[in-house]
């Protein structure tokens, strides 16, 4: 009790021992405090004030009569006794708070965690499987293979025995049989590469890259088949290329079932939905020999639109579908040497009030004709 000699009013108000005496006095507490007060009569005032404050501050409590409490407890007792008689009936069936939502059960949470882990594991496994298509190809092939890995940051040129050239992008790998002794020249790729294949109709050149197989006789094309990409892309620069999904592809079959690609076309294989889509490359280039390019003139002066499209068709090697009869009344005057194909198409279509669409690697011109 020594401390109480010097404590302030607020200390007293917040003091447990003091509050207990004020609010719940017992004979022992009374005795102690009265003894202390007679020893310290100068503290009488402050003790008075503090007890007034302690008593004055209240919490608003709801009122409930003793009678109601008794009747509620009787109800509870009654339920317990009824249960004793009935035996089997379980009381808690009617108890709301025990109905824990299904997702709050420990077993549910455990199950959910396991399911999640399992799903993740499965996903990783799946990924791993598709990632390793290349490894699978390589191990399945019984012949002795040469592997080239581009560990640098710049593209690496690989000269093949048959004279073909592969430009391997950074981080990409190829495997192939050095002598190409089989019926086909087979090469496996993971990553990105540009191929310039020497023509040999007796020995088609096959590129296995992720889920796609590209078959060529002799052309140049690029393949993008990165491990983690969602797509596999084959773009053709020159010549003809046929592309097929690797699923169901048979090297020995005579007929190669696949999409035929011509220059400036590309095929995109969506690995999720396993679908092949043919379209045009982002930057179509001229397919003509250099000599022809020099003679080419994209400066049109009052040229009928159908002739303009014919010129473009030849220059880019892309099939353009249009109604020649309708378009011959639509004259085009525009210097178009500097633009890329799409810009050219845009300008022409604006001039003749037509629209163009890219469908299946072809260009379709929609026009109502000109008067």
């Amino acid at each position: 009790m020594e401390n109480y000699k010097y404590c302030s009013l607020q200390d007293l108000v917040l003091d447990d021992f003091f509050r207990e005496w004020v609010l719940l006095p017992t004979p022992e507490l009374n005795a102690k405090w009265h003894q202390w007060l007679s020893d310290n009569p100068e503290r009488w005032d402050i003790i008075q004030d503090a007890s007034v404050i302690v008593k004055a501050i209240k919490v608003e409590e709801p009122s409930i009569s003793q009678q109601e409490i008794r009747s509620l407890i009787q109800k509870t007792i009654h339920k317990i006794e009824k249960k004793k008689e009935d035996g089997a009936e379980v009381l808690s069936s009617g108890i709301k708070p025990l109905k824990i939502a299904f997702f709050q059960h420990t077993w549910f949470r455990l199950a959910a965690s396991f399911l999640l882990l399992f799903a993740l594991g499965w996903l990783v496994y799946e990924r791993y499987q598709t990632d390793n298509l290349y490894d699978k190809f390589v191990t399945d092939n019984k012949s002795k293979l040469i592997e080239v890995i581009n560990k640098g940051v710049n593209p690496q040129i690989v000269q093949l025995n048959d004279g073909s050239k592969v430009t391997l992008n950074a981080g990409s790998r190829i495997s192939y049989e050095a002598s190409f002794s089989g019926n086909n020249r087979v090469l496996y790729l993971t990553g990105e590469a540009f191929f310039e294949v020497v023509r040999n109709p007796q020995k088609p050149f096959l590129v296995y890259a992720n889920e796609l197989v590209t078959k060529v006789l002799g052309t140049s094309f690029s393949v993008k088949a990165n491990k983690f990409d969602k797509q596999v892309v084959v773009e053709v620069k020159t010549g003809k290329v046929s592309v097929s999904a690797q699923k169901g592809f048979d090297e020995k079959a005579d007929k190669f079932k696949g999409l035929i690609l011509t220059p400036n076309q590309k095929v995109v294989y969506d690995r999720e939905v396993e679908q092949l889509t043919k379209s045009l490359v982002a930057e179509p280039i001229l397919v003509l020999q250099e000599k022809e390019v020099q003679m080419m003139d994209f400066n049109f002066d009052d040229t009928p639109a159908n002739e303009v499209f014919e010129v473009l068709e030849n220059a880019y090697g892309i099939h353009i579908i249009y109604d020649a009869d309708l378009l011959k009344n639509c004259p085009v005057t525009a210097p178009l040497s500097d633009q890329n194909l799409y810009k050219k198409l845009k300008i022409i279509c604006k001039a003749i009030e037509a629209e163009y669409e890219l469908i299946d690697g072809q260009i379709i011109i929609q026009s109502k004709g000109c008067k």
Binding site: I57, K58, I80, L91, K96, I100
Partner: protein, 194 residues
Amino acid sequence: MEQQRELELWQAFTEGDISAFEAIMLEQFPTLYQYGSKFSSNSEIVKDCIQDLFLYLWEHKEHLAKNVSVKAYLMSSLRRRIHLNKNIVSFDPMPANESPLFQVAFSVEDAFIENEYLQRLSNQIKDTLTHIPQRQKEVIYLRFFQNLHRDQIAEVLCITPQTVSNILQMAFKSIKKNWKTEYFGLLFFYFVLN
């Protein structure tokens, strides 16, 4: 002594003595009802939860701890129960481990105070209590108005006794801080008037 008697009743109850159980219910019901009403303004829900709690205890009496602070144990169970019940009824997305909303209204009973100065001081404390954070309010309520000890409060709120002390200290700090300014202002006033 009081605690000894409480514990004896509790142990009799866990051994299946229904009259001991009835005595516990009679004794604890008012406190539980007061405490429960801080979490729900619906008195029927609070009464239901208390009854459900008692039924649950009776059903599981064999598995209950024998050595508990009865009051704190019951308050803690009720707190959890009302909170769970609220979540289920309202499909509240609030996770079950979050603190339930604790609402309490402090007031000053004027009848006790003839002295204007003490009345102002009391109001000052009341206003401070009204504005401290909910957590501090609940601890103050349990400490000052339900007369629970530090360890009992820790049990009710499922926190460590040290945390209870810290929260109490924070509450005291704000009370004293607000008080001081008022106190000196009033003293000054007092001297001038006299």
